[in-house]
Symmetry: C2
Subunit: 121 residues, 2 copies
């Protein structure tokens, strides 16, 4: 596995593969609600209805759509547990769990810089 | 300054201020082109036309819009340099530079998980 840690300071983010990949990842994580969904799933797996109840303001339709996108991009897996009745849970894959550092860094950064503004609003 | 480093594992990202702030930051950084613009500005300040030329595929209108959003959110500043003719440059503020860890982590993460997929596509 290549270490790309120095790239943001020395690379030209033009039409190279590394950069289109960065852009894809960045836009996927930044979609409305996606960060919050991953944030929740970093704690534990959830049933759809639990997740819907735990995230304030998300609609049924949008949660469905976001979970599907995350599944398609390999960040979330849908686990069917053979109980009676069958239980379905959503959990992060290895790639999803690996986004932990990004979510943590974003959480800290946003709370450093936007905290007072949001309290005023 | 409070350290929120452990929050993504022990907090319920519900309707609390910390979480709405996280969501705001996450969605701001994840907007189309925004990550790439910050990525470029982490290297140096740019004139509008230079930035437009350096980012493959962005339109004049979208670059204007994104830079304005980043200015309004305090991540980018527009510097007017008193030369003849006057030179205008865009540079990251302290808050913008502080997003370095997020951009780096996203870059590494995306290249770990999406690299092969994108080469196939």
């Amino acid at each position: 596995m290549t270490d790309h840690s120095d790239k943001p300071n020395d690379a030209n983010c033009d039409h190279r593969v590394e950069c289109s990949v960065f852009q894809r990842g960045s836009e996927l994580l930044g979609k409305r609600w996606t960060g919050v969904i991953i944030y929740m799933l970093l704690q534990k797996s959830y049933r759809f209805s639990e997740l819907l109840g735990a995230i304030n303001g998300i609609s049924d339709r949008l949660l469905t759509e976001r979970l599907r996108e995350l599944e398609e991009n390999g960040l979330v897996e849908r686990r069917v547990i053979a109980e009676s009745p069958v239980r379905v849970e959503y959990a992060l894959t290895e790639a999803g769990r690996d986004a932990h550092d990004i979510i943590s860094a974003t959480y800290r950064w946003a709370n450093r810089w936007f905290h007072l503004v949001s309290e005023r609003e």
